[in-house]
Symmetry: C2
Subunit: 394 residues, 2 copies
């Protein structure tokens, strides 16, 4: 790892692979394990960087695909890079764009968009067509139909121009419907693309993550982990959506075959019930649109005992049952929204389709996950992770 | 005026009828002249009460028509009234509902909706049909088609239940297309309804404004002003939209025929170029959706010299010309948005249809008007209103 970056493990949990660490970047250090909210188009939807600071967010993700199309990486650079452009002083991360160009290409073709938990809003924001060759992926912009090609070299070049601290090598996403042979072929392409990504990466103020794939297949996942570990200082777990059924096994195979001392990021994960599992398996950071997307749909996180594995720790605040409820969104939450507003009022805002509804629910949900990660870090340090996990396993 | 309220004039401008005053209410005092942002459905769109405090907003308006239909005044009361329901500690104001039930009845019939500066978004939120009798106005909810009747008695009862500090008597809105005879007939009905409003008003912790009408006709406006002055402790100027051509004359006739010592509110006004005129004519408070509505459309206020009478002190930030602009929205503005973000970033948010766009533009616009009112109050005290006005008359 180059000298602008450093990953220190400060405490290991005795019973699991969970650890508390510190990932130092040119824009500040990240206490891990940490949740990373998505600022897809250079904005964590409805929230300001001031909100994010108040919440305790440490690092924000931007999507390479979206930022490339609008406003374009050159504009982002002209404003000083992703952080400066959006008024965020802390660390930033961009993904490779691989997931987006895949998710309406192969994914749509194979009818797996649903499986990827996509909704209509997403579909409108996805590339219309794509063609995958050894060179890269050709796709049409969802904005104006213009043709684009994303290659390992262009993905890295775009990410260098956007200027996030943490970036990801370009990958070929596997479909969960792929056979073993197809998955193996895809992984081999990913690995060739990762080497091209590494070769084309020039900037020393960015940490390049090698991304792992291999679908649901143990030997491919192990092969992928070893390949990424050999070539990169940081590991990103990709295609987790694709192996929902044995996701935790996939994480175990990957983490178990990479250097313990390297930071591990898991892409696209953020349900409360997944968090304890992936952290216990050794994942250090993860990103997800769930808190903001679910928030905009009226789902707000609640802690135990009201929140449980069955309701996935969320309630639908737009339901009539909350119209007269004078409680805060979550009884145990100390966020600004819970200190200031009732469920009844937020319910009203959703029914009235007031913009403030989406903002308040997003704020609470991002706070909720950020605060949960803080509790998890404290529990690891206190040797009480198991107790905390039991509390959240009802 | 009952003892829970008090209006003191602290300073009169030497050359105009402008004055600095203080309107005391059970929820705090309002320094006048003051702009009152609209929280139509118990939310100033996209902004929190914390934002409003930070901006310096003193009082918030809620719309009786909207709150009656959703969530219903009983729910608002159950949460402790309008302010408590929305988490706002300061004074509140509700209108009579007369404008809303009029604006798709007679207004649509006569093709004057455009003239009332309505847009599609508004039209969707308006009652579908109405029938006016001496008793009141029958209309169908824009939400579910259910039938409702609004009378002087029910308007006051709803406003008492909603519990704002400042409330308005129920009025019959005149169309700008009405003849003299029709306008006179409408005014006579308004006056009968005002007396019924006054008679049915019971709560001592609310100040009831008598609303004036009379369209564009001098003698009717004078008659209306004298009537309101005789019967009420506070005066609201109604139907200003209806007399856009001679609006300032209408204000002059009204203010000139009411007691100087009474507070004067003007309904539905808030363009920067109107503000100096109405304040100079003796208006103390006014409300308008313009800063938030225009903000959501991408129009942000700018001060002189960039802002002028021709561009109505606003720029369309969604225009391509602002894509690379590193300036704040307004170069002279000290609001949180102008201190934190560039025009280029806000431009991007509008192009990308990010929720944050509407929030940032609304925040800036409400701040801009609130700050302008502060400057106007200071100028009246300093005897420099004319200089300030000249600066804003380019």
């Amino acid at each position: 790892m180059n000298k602008l970056f450093d990953f220190k493990i400060l405490k290991k949990d005795a019973k699991t692979k969970a650890r508390v660490g510190e990932l130092r970047t040119p824009h500040g250090a990240i206490d891990t394990p940490a949740f990373i909210p998505c600022g897809t188009k250079a904005s964590v939807k409805s929230l300001t960087p001031q909100d994010l600071n108040e919440i305790g967010v440490q690092v924000v993700l931007g999507n390479t695909y979206h930022l490339h199309l609008r406003p374009g990486e050159k504009i982002v650079k002209e404003f000083g890079g992703l952080g400066k452009f959006m008024g965020w002083n802390g660390p930033t991360l961009t993904d490779s764009g691989g997931f987006q160009v895949f998710s309406l290409g192969v994914a749509l073709e194979q009818g797996v968009a649903k499986l990827l938990q996509e909704n209509d809003e997403d579909l409108k924001q996805k590339p219309r067509l794509n063609k995958i060759t050894e060179e890269g992926v050709t796709f049409q912009s969802h904005l104006d139909g213009s043709s684009h090609i994303l290659t390992p070299e262009s993905s890295i070049s775009i990410q260098e121009t956007i200027g996030a601290d943490l970036i990801v090598g370009f990958d070929d996403l596997e479909s969960p419907k792929y056979s073993y042979a197809e998955t193996k072929k895809s992984l081999e392409r990913t690995n060739r693309w990762l080497l091209r990504s590494k070769k084309s990466h020039r900037k020393s103020d960015q940490l390049l993550y090698g991304v792992t794939h291999g679908g649901r297949f143990k030997d491919l996942r192990i092969e992928s982990a070893k390949f990424a570990d050999k070539n990169f200082d940081a590991i990103a777990l990709g295609g987790a959506h694709s192996s929902k059924e044995n996701m935790y096994e996939v994480v175990k195979w990957t983490v178990g075959n990479t250097d313990d001392l390297k930071p591990k990021h898991m892409l696209g994960i953020g349900e409360v019930d997944d968090i304890f599992n992936i952290v216990s398996l050794g994942v250090d950071t993860f990103d997800c649109v769930i808190p903001t997307r679910m928030g905009r749909m009226g789902f707000v996180f609640v802690s135990p005992p009201e929140g449980n594995l069955l309701n996935r720790f969320r309630i639908d605040i737009s339901k009539e049952i909350f119209a007269k409820d004078k409680n805060p969104l979550d009884k145990n939450c100390q966020c600004l929204v819970c200190r200031s507003f009732t469920r009844g009022y937020v319910h009203h805002l959703f029914r009235a389709r007031e913009l403030l509804a989406y903002r308040l629910a997003s704020y609470h949900n991002v706070y909720f996950l950020t605060d949960l990660m803080k509790k998890i870090r404290e529990a690891i340090i206190d040797n009480s992770l198991l107790q905390l996990r039991n509390k959240w396993s009802i």
